[in-house]
Symmetry: C2
Subunit: 249 residues, 2 copies
């Protein structure tokens, strides 16, 4: 509860120890969870003394909170950040056509796959984040807000443009979650998917296959009628999927 945090007039050496504790915290907390992660294993990996944790962060939980805040930095890869800015800009300024929205959505999901499955070290902070989102504790709010803001909200907004519904419509949010869940499962139960597929890792060609399937399903999911107006498009001739579904391979 108390936060001593003697961090005001810090020296350079202290900043280094602080930084290394955060990095080690991401790894050890991410791998073993809060309880199972001993402060000794963290300080050993960080190469600092055991007393450095209460000194810099007040307590083990203080470090945990600091790691959670620090981790929000890793949440969006370089590729994702650019796309997210594009989406934000487009949605703010002008009306976005369904085609534009769909293309941005594809870019977003390509970024999700890259960030979650093909980025070095993503398994460490991803584990940390998902564990917290699965069973909320003290830092749930921090991570939840960042994740939703960087993933679900933009998706729901684009989906809303495509389906011509408000972005906070439950259907838009649900569709955003289901589509995101398609990517997420390969991260959360990574070992299950790898083993079933007989793979050792998600390498280049295999990632492309996953990307293609997801791209196609994002595409098809948002074509045609929404839930309410079910038989609105009685003549699907203009909805030939062969042109706006640029499947790879």
């Amino acid at each position: 509860m108390s936060e001593p945090k003697p961090h005001q007039g810090g020296y350079q050496r202290g900043e280094e120890a602080r930084r290394r504790l955060l990095e080690a915290g991401i790894e050890v907390f991410g791998l073993h969870g809060y309880e199972a992660a001993s402060t000794r294993s963290i300080t050993e990996k960080a190469g600092v003394n055991l007393a450095a944790i209460p000194y810099y962060f007040g307590s083990k939980e203080g470090l945990y909170r600091a790691v959670a805040e620090h981790i929000t930095t890793h949440l969006d890869g370089p590729k994702l950040t650019a796309t997210l800015e594009q989406v934000e800009k487009k949605l703010k300024t002008s009306q976005v056509s369904a085609e534009q929205a769909l293309e941005l959505l594809h870019q977003l999901f390509d970024g999700f796959v890259t960030t979650l499955l093909a980025t070095e070290g993503s398994d460490l902070w991803a584990r940390f984040v998902f564990r917290e989102l699965m069973e909320p504790s003290s830092v749930f709010e921090i991570l939840n807000q960042h994740v939703v803001q960087k993933t679900i909200r933009p998706c729901a907004a684009l989906i809303g443009q495509i389906l011509d519904k408000p972005s906070d419509d439950p259907e838009c949010l649900i569709r955003a979650f289901t589509l995101f869940g398609q990517v997420l499962i390969f991260r959360t139960v990574r070992e299950v998917t790898l083993r079933s597929l007989g793979w050792q890792e998600f390498s280049g060609d295999r990632l492309d296959l996953i990307r293609s399937v997801i791209r196609q399903q994002v595409d098809r999911s948002l074509h045609g009628s929404t839930l309410e107006e079910k038989t609105a498009q009685s003549h699907p001739a203009s909805n030939d999927s062969s042109e706006d579904t640029p499947d790879r391979i």
Copy 2:
């Protein structure tokens, strides 16, 4: 490692204590994980003495393994079991048409939603299972085999029938995973989805909405071309989605 397990000539009272430890183990292990779940909290919830764990299960890990094996009982709800038997029978005996396969797939996913989101107590064993599948430990194989056998394999087989591919084709498995991921996300990051939607729980009408979206997406995902033969169906006239997509609401 050693398993004394004095369980051969047990009395009735012993069986009762054994059973209560397993139930309490599901709950406490599921809520807090292996490390954070103390043997004392488990025995308190079970209403037995602390020494009962090493007595009946050899050790804490022995109990953990026993819980994992016991938990496979809960993995399929009554509704799911019936559908799974149908699927197995259909796939064994005769050739299944794409329409039949799709209908069975819909039944399966309705069952998934019901079992994972609308079944009392599912959060407890589900947490246990997902934690183990997320970061494999000693009981990963047991749970993985059961889960894959009861969910992914049947889905992949049906998808294979629809897409006219072998059920162990990577694309079939990937599609099975992505579709299953659409349901799973509402269980794994349950609090995130509920909060974003402004909901308190997945009640009847809201579950129906989720079910409808998933049903529609399962439907659309498997219509039309697969990845390789992309423009095979040049005339989608016979593929009007208004009849084989019985959307609710």
